[in-house]
Point group: C2
Amino acid sequence: MKTKILIDMDGVLADVYKPLIMEEYTKNNKIINESDLNGIAEYDAFPNLRKIVTSNNFFRNAPIMDGSIEGLKYLNEKYDVLIVSSATEFPNCINDKQNWLEEHFPFISWEQMIFCGKKESVCGDIMIDDHPKNLVYFKGKKIIFTQPHNYNINNSEYIRVFSWKEIQNIL
Amino acid sequence: MKTKILIDMDGVLADVYKPLIMEEYTKNNKIINESDLNGIAEYDAFPNLRKIVTSNNFFRNAPIMDGSIEGLKYLNEKYDVLIVSSATEFPNCINDKQNWLEEHFPFISWEQMIFCGKKESVCGDIMIDDHPKNLVYFKGKKIIFTQPHNYNINNSEYIRVFSWKEIQNIL
């Protein structure tokens, strides 16, 4: 039986910082770099986050994280891959998320998708996630995908990666 | 820690046979009873099943299974309840399913919802489901909710129930 890997969507496959920065700052003529937000929680960095992500097909149009298509294809051949997204928090967004996955990662079947609230009841061997709140409950190997909000998290239980290239190197 | 129960939607909380019978038979002037379909697989009973469930807001308007509101409220107070639905098989239906849950079972929070493909990676202590394909992998207590398609299934591992009243009696 193949090793089972649970892979998060937002902040791992989908780059949500780019469109959030665009909506929260650039549209208001503020120039900021992603690194300006290092160590700042998402809701503090983006006070209008909830409003932004629940409008204008945010999840349907999210940019793809660099290297994630090639990286996920690699993992999908070697491991039993599940895509696990905390998606029920935002109303009416799951159809968009599923359509986005089907468009950009067509080698992932509907059987491999899990859209949930809390992730603690989803079991596997390895978890790749940008949120400590998901990693903390997990009983297997924990890989934290670097995003500005988790930049300063220092937990010896987590293997920190900065890119999909790194994921391919370590797995 | 409370015992964790995984509860299916279609065929346990949502009565899908009534609207399927309406669309497949009654609209074509055929009168059938649900019991006429005992022992017949869903796709054999309803050759147009895929077309029916992916149109006309099927999941948004599904009738509520008798006794399920009171029954789920009871379970939700006593146990750690998760609603687990194999929903990714049919495109663009999950928003409808989530909205349906929120309308009819408002005491279930977004954190308790899981919309997935295969259920085998979702862990818990008890599973209530009408489909043997979900129960077969499960490692905990297995309760099969009677629906016509599973009527003749005879598996000593399953506790068979015929109603939500029975569920409240045994749990």
